[in-house]
């Protein structure tokens, strides 16, 4: 049934769009046009689209495409790219002002380095600012000062993190993943030194097949892990600060509004809205006395506010 409906829509959509496009072009000349370009059909991107659309200001017309459907792309006043692939394509093929979402700062920097100089380009990064992550670590376990990370060859803001930690009175214990060694051995070496394990966005180390051994290893040593997303906390990390797709979509809608109001894109930015998740069961089991999520949030906001 649904499938048939779907097919029906597929056939009818161009017609409807054509009619709608005609009526809109005729009726409201000052309507702003936004092209939302998704890297692929991916559930989080679709959630982004939903929330983004709901939060758009009046007078904005939204066109949505994904990379599998790049034909008949309409002209737009602003291109919003969701994910790295879409952002890359937009930079290469479109001339309009564009901003990228749901991509990491590192990926955005790569893009910006390759963009045409004349055109405005901005972003909302996927990751939290290091200062916010460090603020959470310090707020949740102020007595623990040796923050360990495991990293592979991938570039990570090692020095930035080291500075951020030492500013807050903690120290970084960084253990590289040795090419000839095992993950378990490197983790063991790190856990002997560190009293907090911080996850970093490095799929070589943290992925669904390694997370089990990493979490079990850190739990055995009584070293809690600070995760990157809610999924980490669910799996057994102590806590994480992250932004939901919906929060980033709402921020993107805000950026869109600002662009149409001022005519210029604001600078690339970290997520403003965020969430803190805490796994109380893990805290209890590790005999850690931690404050409530609300108290942690106040502490993180205070730490961040103090730095601005």
């Amino acid at each position: 049934m649904t499938k048939r409906l779907h097919t029906w829509w597929r056939c009818m959509l161009p017609l409807i769009l054509a009619v709608a496009g005609y009526s809109q072009a005729a009726g409201a000349a000052e309507l702003k046009r936004v092209l939302l370009l998704q890297s692929e059909q991916f559930a989080p991107y679709q959630r982004f689209h939903r929330t983004f659309e709901q939060n758009l200001p009046q007078g904005v017309r939204l066109e949505v495409r994904d990379m599998s459907r790049l034909t008949e792309l309409p002209a737009a006043d602003l291109v919003v790219a969701v994910g790295f692939k879409a952002a890359q394509w937009a930079v290469e093929h479109r001339q309009e002002p564009a901003f990228a979402t749901l991509l990491t700062r590192e990926n955005f920097m790569t893009l910006r380095a390759s963009r045409g100089a004349s055109r405005s380009l901005s972003a909302i990064y996927l990751e939290q600012p290091l200062s916010r992550q460090v603020a959470l670590i310090r707020a949740v376990l102020p007595e623990r000062k040796r923050v360990g990370i495991l990293y592979s060859n991938r570039t990570f803001e090692l020095e930035g993190l080291r500075d951020e930690l030492s500013l807050s009175g903690a120290e970084l214990v960084a253990q590289p993943l040795r090419p000839d060694g095992s993950l378990a051995g490197d983790l063991e070496a790190l856990l002997a030194q560190a009293d907090i394990l911080m996850a970093i966005p490095d799929g070589n180390i943290f992925n669904s097949s390694t997370i089990r051994n990493i979490l079990l290893g850190s739990y055995r040593r009584g070293v809690p892990m600070i995760g990157l997303t809610a999924a980490y906390v669910n799996a057994g990390a102590l806590c994480a600060v992250y932004s939901t797709t919906e929060q980033m979509a709402a921020q993107a809608a805000g950026v869109t509004e600002e662009f149409f109001r001022n005519g210029v894109l604001p600078g690339a930015q970290y997520p403003q809205l965020y969430q803190i998740d805490l796994n109380q069961e893990v805290a209890r089991s590790l005999r850690l006395t931690v404050r409530s999520v609300e108290a942690l949030r106040i502490e993180v906001e205070r730490a961040e506010g103090g730095r601005k």
Partner: protein
């Protein structure tokens, strides 16, 4: 709700990941979905929320203690008596009644009960498990029948072995030392995405206690009669074992743990002293008989266990456990009778088997409750036989061959309820029924009040039962040194389960500013219908009662980031109805040591005991640790006065240096000295003199 949303995401992100695997982008790291790793069954209940007083001996303490034997680790539990009957036949009893069989403790290895009700003992020497494979030992101090069932009347020792993924690569270690200490162990482990395993192959040998040529200093020659033992020339032990643990976790919902192990152990048992000879000037009685001449006891054990854990919705999980275990002990005993050895030995053997199936469901209901409930079925099988040689049939009879089977069913439930923030209520109970007709309900309730952050007050009360052992029901006496045999012709009919009522008040405080914690407990344990061997009827009867009151304390202190100190102390006041039984003419309670004790049961419990463990990691891979053990004098309950055990003092020292990063090789060299000051105290029997033991261990990993 959140889980559902993420499981949808998981589906997509798996597709996405396969597409993006080769790319440099790390965007998808933020959309990666993970299985629930630290689930309810893995997470340990914090001490401050446990319904009982608990002691946890973790991996670091195990290493720091330098112990080669599992039983020795239990010396770090306040109120625990650990000793050895022969060189390798250890036993541990919490709160005394220190007889050789320690019949009132439940012992579990990864949930598998190794307490053998038919034999009513734990065979510590024949567990296919090496000390190095233990992750931690959790000891419930006090009855926990509501969670662990009958035979938990004094407490529960729960041994958690190292996970399947804890060993990666290969490891070889060799230990050599005094007293014939000679251990070799090979370990290796590995795995793939959904599978981990570890394997241990080990050989462990020692010569037991030093063979004495003269009496221990505290034993007057006048006490040394023909029952006294001096020579320890046959208490060596050689054990070989294999242990495997694998874990298969195909997806986020399922985890299957598979374990199996084998051990084969040869123990020297029996005594030469009972034969009058030139080497034993104290036994000059030519009519002396010895049914326990020196010989070897062969023990083979094996087990297999499977645990399947399945995660369900709403953080609830289902666990199914099955295990099978088997212990076979046999020996050939020469009989020395009226001055002559009989050439042909008596052949004795005992086979004990067990199968158990348990299903358990853990679920959270509401925000305040966590409920665990389940059911289990167990079958125990015991076959025993003794075959005397033809030449002795006229004297000893035809021998025996018996076999017994018993089934047990139990149903249990335990709820952890947080009615309001500072209060935690643990309510639980267990119903058990066995084929012999014993039926018990063991309830428990405990209140934990977190009256200040990091300060907890605990009040608890529970009732626990111990079902009579097969040996108690079907054999008139437990014969130390001999195999336990079943003899249905001499039953102790109508024997009921022992009952223990335990009450306690506990305090747990964490003083993080000093890096210290304090665990204090006042307790009262009342045993009624206690089973003992009455000398009036020659059978086991119910009728002993006792009351223990006392205090236990554990202090943990971390003076710095690299040092830890654990200090345990226990003070126990005991009294029993033994004097009354004696007045009624039952010599089972006759005190062998009237000068010191008029109550033989109370006298078997040390009034004060202390244990401490300090460990420190230093620079360049050096680490040092030291253990201290003190125990007041006592008179073992089932031993003659000559075995009176004076106060024990012992200091152990371990010094280790680890080598890291020398190529792909790593290793450690360690030197352990047990009883550093050579105080030569006695354990359980007067001839078991524990003098200084030194051994060195070299471990290589690659």
């Amino acid at each position: 709700m959140k889980r559902l949303q993420f499981s949808v995401m998981l589906l997509y992100s798996c597709m996405a990941l396969s597409v993006h695997a080769g790319e440099q982008t790390s965007d998808f790291d933020y959309f990666e979905e993970f299985p629930l790793v630290l689930s309810a069954s893995r997470l340990a209940q914090p001490l401050s929320e446990a319904p009982n007083a608990m002691t946890v001996i973790d991996r670091e303490m195990i290493v720091a203690s330098g112990s080669r034997n599992i039983a020795d680790l239990l010396k770090l539990v306040p109120g625990m008596y650990v000793s050895y009957y022969k060189g390798s036949q250890g036993f541990a009893a919490y709160h005394g009644a220190t007889d050789q069989y320690a019949r009132r403790m439940q012992v579990l290895i990864d949930g598998r009960s190794v307490y053998l009700p038919p034999l009513s003992t734990v065979d510590w020497a024949d567990l296919p498990l090496s000390v190095e494979d233990i992750e931690r030992i959790e000891v419930v101090r006090g009855p926990a029948a509501a969670s662990y069932g009958a035979n938990s009347t004094q407490g529960v020792i729960s041994i958690v072995t190292r996970d399947a993924d804890s060993v990666k690569g290969k490891q070889l270690s060799y230990t050599h030392g005094t007293h014939g200490i000679n251990d070799v162990a090979a370990r290796f482990g590995g795995g793939a995405d959904a599978y981990d395993y570890r394997v241990t192959l080990a050989y462990k040998a020692d010569n037991g206690y030093t063979d004495l040529s003269q009496l221990p200093a505290h034993v007057p020659v006048t006490l040394f009669n023909q029952n006294a033992l001096l020579r320890n020339n046959n208490d060596s032990n050689q054990a070989r074992m294999l242990n495997y643990r694998g874990n298969y976790h195909p997806d986020a919902q399922n985890s299957v743990d598979l374990q199996f192990g084998f051990s084969r152990d040869v123990q020297g048992v029996g005594f030469v002293d009972k034969n009058p000879s030139s080497v034993n000037p104290y036994n000059t009685n030519p009519a002396s008989t010895n049914g326990n001449t020196p010989h070897d006891l062969f023990a083979s054990a094996h087990f297999a266990q499977a645990d399947w854990i399945r995660m369900l919705e709403n953080d609830s999980e289902l666990r199914l456990r099955f295990y099978h275990m088997h212990l076979d002990r046999h020996e050939a005993v020469n009989v020395y009778l009226g001055g002559t050895y009989f050439a042909d030995p008596i052949l004795q053997s005992v086979r004990s088997g067990r199968d158990e199936l348990e299903v358990q469901h853990t679920l959270a209901w509401g925000a305040e409750n966590r409920l665990v409930y389940g059911a289990a079925w167990r079958q125990d099988q015991l076959d025993a036989q003794g075959v005397p040689p033809a030449s002795l049939i006229s004297i000893l009879g035809n021998g025996y061959a018996h076999s017994l089977k018993s089934d047990e069913l139990r149903v249990f439930a335990h709820d952890e309820w947080h009615p309001m923030q500072p209060l935690l209520v643990n309510v639980g109970g267990m119903y058990e029924r066995d084929r012999m007709g014993h039926e018990n309900v063991s309830p428990r309730v405990a209140l934990n009040l977190h009256f200040l952050p990091r300060h907890t007050l605990r009040m608890g009360s529970s009732v626990a039962y111990r079902t009579p052992a097969v040996a108690e029901e079907f054999f008139p006496a437990l014969q130390p040194g001999d195999l336990v045999v079943t003899n249905p012709t001499a039953t102790s009919a109508g024997l009921q389960a022992e009952r223990m009522l335990s009450r306690e008040i506990g305090y747990l405080g964490e003083f993080s500013e000093w890096g210290a914690s304090l665990d204090l407990r006042l307790f009262s344990d009342q045993l009624s219908d206690g089973i003992y061997e009455s000398k009036l009827s020659g059978r086991f009867v119910n009728g002993m009662s006792s009351e223990l009151r006392g205090m236990e304390m554990t202090i943990k202190y971390q003076p710095g980031r690299n040092a830890t100190l654990t200090l345990n102390a226990a003070h126990i006041q005991a009294r029993s109805n033994c004097p009354a039984l004696l007045a009624a003419g039952d010599t089972a309670c006759s005190t062998v040591n009237p000068a010191r004790y008029n109550d033989v049961l109370a006298g078997s419990i040390p009034v004060n005991s202390v244990s401490a463990l300090y460990s420190r990691n230093m620079s360049r891979g050096w680490s040092v640790s030291s253990g201290f053990y003190y125990q007041d004098e006592l008179q073992p309950y089932d031993r003659p006065v000559v075995d009176f055990q004076p106060a024990q003092r012992r200091v152990d020292l371990r010094l280790a240096k680890s080598f890291h990063d020398t190529g792909s090789w790593q290793g450690e060299a360690a030197l352990t000295v047990q009883n550093l000051f050579d105080t030569a105290y006695t354990e359980y029997t007067a001839n078991n003199v524990f003098d200084r033991r030194i051994f060195a261990t070299l471990t290589l990993r690659w």
